[in-house]
Subunit: 154 residues, 2 copies
Amino acid sequence: MYTIGQMADMFQIPISTLRYYDKEGLFPGLERSGGIRRFSEKEAEALRVIECLKKSGLEIREIKTFMEWCAEGSSTYEKRRELFVQQEKAVIEEMRRLEKTLAMIRYKQWYYEQALKDGTEDRVRQMEPEEMPEKIRAFYELAFEDMEPERRRA
Amino acid sequence: MYTIGQMADMFQIPISTLRYYDKEGLFPGLERSGGIRRFSEKEAEALRVIECLKKSGLEIREIKTFMEWCAEGSSTYEKRRELFVQQEKAVIEEMRRLEKTLAMIRYKQWYYEQALKDGTEDRVRQMEPEEMPEKIRAFYELAFEDMEPERRRA
DNA sequence: CCTTGACCTAAAGTCAGGTTTAGGTTCTAT
DNA sequence: ATAGAACCTAAACCTGACTTTAGGTCAAGG
């Protein structure tokens, strides 16, 4: 059993955040003795899951729902599994988005290298993909692949 | 030249957001005729860059700084290049974080598959990494690799 | 006894990034 | 010339996820 202060130290997270999570219902069934919260291994495990689900993009309200399922026991295993299947999709989608962003960033690095070399953006700004080095063209095309023609050309 | 409404249609973004960006200084040198904003290809290009920088995690204030550099001309090419080098690092870092999250999610999917099969979490909850299938152990270890021992075991 | 430290609550405040509202102005087509 | 659409501003409001504040309880140590 841990006090709120011990939990905060262990997880390197402010006490106020733990109280906030509790208020939002993220620790269903958290015990108290004389008004004081008594955290157990169960809440420690909950907190690890909370951190994971937060990183994967879930909101506090949704995490609350998940924690309620956990409290309900074995009848909710399937729901919980499905939630992780859902989150896998969401995280993969986010990673794909970041890969495009990365391609745009790398294209822009090259763009400014050229501008520096030339002393002006004029040449590189007008360059068609066909004229770019192969690697750069690949970045350019990945970055803009699903943009409307009029939105292309950054 | 485009009106604010045409820009909003073109970029599929609310008019109010364009006005907000303008108020925050993201279109330095935006022209007006009789109080009405006149967007040009320059602002369209700015907006594409804004979207990219936002996705890469920059705040509006930082994007404003970048746009001011753009308005200053060729003397800021090096600064702009450096910003994209910085953002590349930030995005790669974020992707690494997401990969760990993904490993935890996949471990949890397997965990609930086992719980469903057994009808209880008891077995899988107590399982040591050594007993897990190799693939799952890899997820488990990636997910928890830099956690303190007492914070491990989700 | 009384101070200190760790805990408690409710409510207000903060921050980012917008969105909505209220009240005007300008452009466009009849 | 006038209606309606599209534009304008300032300021208030919103959401999510916390954090801070103000005021209070309680146990241990000097």
